[in-house]
C-alpha cells in the first residue's frame, strides 16, 4: 500500500471511530447505527470489528452508513486480515442493494484497491461518473479517482479526472471547500499550489502512457516547479514516483534514481523504492550493490534533526538533544485514540 493511501485510510478510520455521521431518513437504521457505534467502540480485535461491520452491512446494505463502513471493512478484512476477496464479496453484495449515489461512490472507491490487488480492477470511470451525474465532485474525490486510476493503469480516466481537479487547484476553490476554517491568503495559495502539483503529477504520468509524451514532459516540468517536500525532503505528492517512472520509461535510469531517491530512500515510500530498484537493475544489470548505493544516497540526503523542547506528562521539560544524545533514536509522532 502506498503512503498516501495508508494515511487516508487511517484518517477515515479515525473519523469513523470519532463518529461523524450523516442524516438518514429511516429512524430504525439510525438506532441500529448508534447501537453499532457503541458496540464498535468497545472492540479491539480486528476479527471482532470485521464481524460487527459485516453484520451491520448485511442488515442495512441500503443505508447511507454502508458508505461510511466500506473503507473500514476494506482496511480491516482486506488488508489487516489479508483477505481482499472476502472483503470484496461482502462489499459487492452491499453495493448491489444500495441505491444512494453517495454511499455507492464510497463503497466503490473502497472496493477498487482490493479489486486491483486480486487482478480484477473495477472500472473507476463507472464509479466516479455515477456520482458526478448527481452533483459536482470535490477536489479530494476527483484527485482520489485520478490517483487510483494512474496507479492502476486506467490512463484515460486518470487524465480526465486529473484535468478536472486542476480546475479546483485555486486558492478560491480551496477556501470555498473549507469555509469554516481560518486560512490566511498565503496558506490558501500554498494549499492551492499543492493541489496543482498533485493533479499535474497524475496528469503527466497519464499523458505519457496515452502516448502524448511532449505534453507529459511539459506537465512534469510545471509540477516540478511546484514541488514541496516533507521534513526529510520526500515529495508530499506522487510527483517523485511518477517523474521517476517516466524517466525510466524514457530510458534514463540514472535520472530516474535521482528523482526517486528522496521519496524512495528518505521517505520510505515502498512504491518509489520498487521503481528505484527497477532503475538500478536497468543501469547495472542486477541488484548487486543496491543496498550500499541506498546507504550512500542516504548519507548524502540526511540532514541534522532540529532540536526542540517539550514537556512530559508530569510537566517536566526535556530537550530532545538530551534524550537522544549519542543514541540511535526513533522519534515517533502519534496521538491516542
Amino acid at each position: 500500500m502506498n503512503r498516501l493511501t495508508a494515511v487516508a485510510g487511517l484518517v477515515l478510520l479515525l473519523g469513523l471511530i470519532a463518529g461523524c455521521s450523516e442524516q438518514a431518513p429511516e429512524v430504525d437504521v439510525d438506532q441500529a447505527w448508534s447501537d453499532f457505534r457503541a458496540a464498535y467502540n468497545e472492540l479491539e480485535a480486528t476479527p471482532d470489528k470485521v464481524e460487527l461491520i459485516e453484520s451491520f452491512l448485511k442488515a442495512h446494505p441500503d443505508s447511507s452508513y454502508a458508505g461510511q463502513l466500506a473503507p473500514a471493512l476494506a482496511y480491516y478484512r482486506g488488508e489487516e486480515m489479508d483477505d481482499p476477496e472476502g472483503a470484496l464479496m461482502v462489499l459487492d453484495e452491499t453495493l448491489e442493494q444500495n441505491t444512494d449515489p453517495e454511499a455507492r461512490f464510497a463503497i466503490g472507491t473502497a472496493m477498487f484497491p482490493l479489486s486491483a490487488e486480486i487482478g480484477e480492477p473495477m472500472d473507476l470511470g463507472v464509479i466516479a461518473d455515477e456520482l458526478a451525474a448527481v452533483r459536482p465532485l470535490s477536489f479530494v474525490e476527483m484527485i482520489d479517482i485520478a490517483d487510483m486510476a494512474v496507479l492502476h493503469g486506467q490512463w484515460q480516466v486518470g487524465a480526465e479526472y486529473a484535468e478536472a481537479s486542476l480546475a479546483k487547484a485555486t486558492p478560491e476553490a480551496f477556501l470555498s471547500d473549507y469555509p469554516d476554517d481560518d486560512y490566511s491568503p498565503e496558506e490558501a495559495a500554498a494549499k492551492a499550489e499543492r493541489r496543482r502539483a498533485m493533479a499535474l503529477a497524475d496528469l503527466g504520468w497519464a499523458l505519457w502512457n496515452l502516448g502524448r509524451q511532449d505534453e507529459a514532459r511539459a506537465t512534469f516540468d510545471e509540477a516540478m516547479d511546484l514541488r514541496t517536500g516533507d521534513y526529510v525532503g520526500a515529495s508530499d505528492t506522487h510527483l517523485d514516483l511518477f517523474a521517476g517512472k517516466m524517466a525510466l520509461a524514457a530510458g534514463d535510469p540514472e535520472r530516474a534514481m535521482e528523482l526517486l531517491a528522496p521519496s524512495a530512500i528518505m521517505g520510505g515510500d515502498g512504491d518509489a523504492m520498487a521503481v528505484y530498484r527497477e532503475a538500478y537493475v536497468a543501469e547495472h544489470g542486477s541488484d548487486e550493490g543496491l543496498e550500499s548505493q541506498v546507504w550512500s544516497a542516504r548519507e548524502q540526503l540526511a540532514k541534522s534533526v532540529d532540536d526542540f523542547t517539550l514537556a512530559d506528562y508530569d510537566g517536566n521539560e526535556h530537550d530532545f538533544s538530551a534524550l537522544s544524545d549519542g543514541k540511535v533514536t526513533l522519534l515517533a509522532f502519534w496521538f491516542p485514540t
Partner: protein, 100 residues
C-alpha cells in the same frame, strides 16, 4: 496504534544505545496518559506544545499519524516512516541494527 508495538524494540535495543521519543501531536493529555499506563510504555513520552511552542507541524511538517523518523548517533535523520503496518517491526529492527 503503533506505540505498544515499539515497546519490545525499545526493550531489545535500549542497552545498545537505542531510544524512542514519542510525541503526542494532539495534546490529548488524559487519553494519552491512560494509554501509556495501560500499555506499560517505558520510553520517554512528550506532549506537543501550544501556539509558538508547537513543533509537530511547524518544525517536522507532520501531516498524518503515525509518522516517525529514525535518527543516527550523530543526530542525522536517516529516514521517515509513515503509517504502521504488520511486519514493519522487523523492517525497523533491521534498520536500527544497521545504525547501532
Amino acid at each position: 496504534m503503533e506505540l505498544p508495538r515499539l515497546q519490545p524494540l525499545y526493550e531489545t535495543y535500549a542497552d545498545r544505545g537505542f531510544t524512542i521519543v514519542a510525541v503526542d501531536g494532539k495534546r490529548q493529555t488524559e487519553l494519552a496518559t491512560k494509554f501509556i499506563a495501560k500499555h506499560d510504555l517505558t520510553y520517554p513520552t512528550l506532549e506537543n506544545g501550544d501556539g509558538d511552542a508547537e513543533v509537530v507541524k511547524s518544525v517536522f511538517k507532520v501531516q498524518g499519524y503515525p509518522t516517525s523518523f529514525l535518527i543516527d548517533r550523530d543526530g542525522r535523520v536517516m529516514y521517515a516512516h509513515l503509517g504502521f503496518e504488520p511486519g514493519d517491526e522487523e523492517h525497523l529492527a533491521k534498520e536500527i541494527e544497521s545504525l547501532l
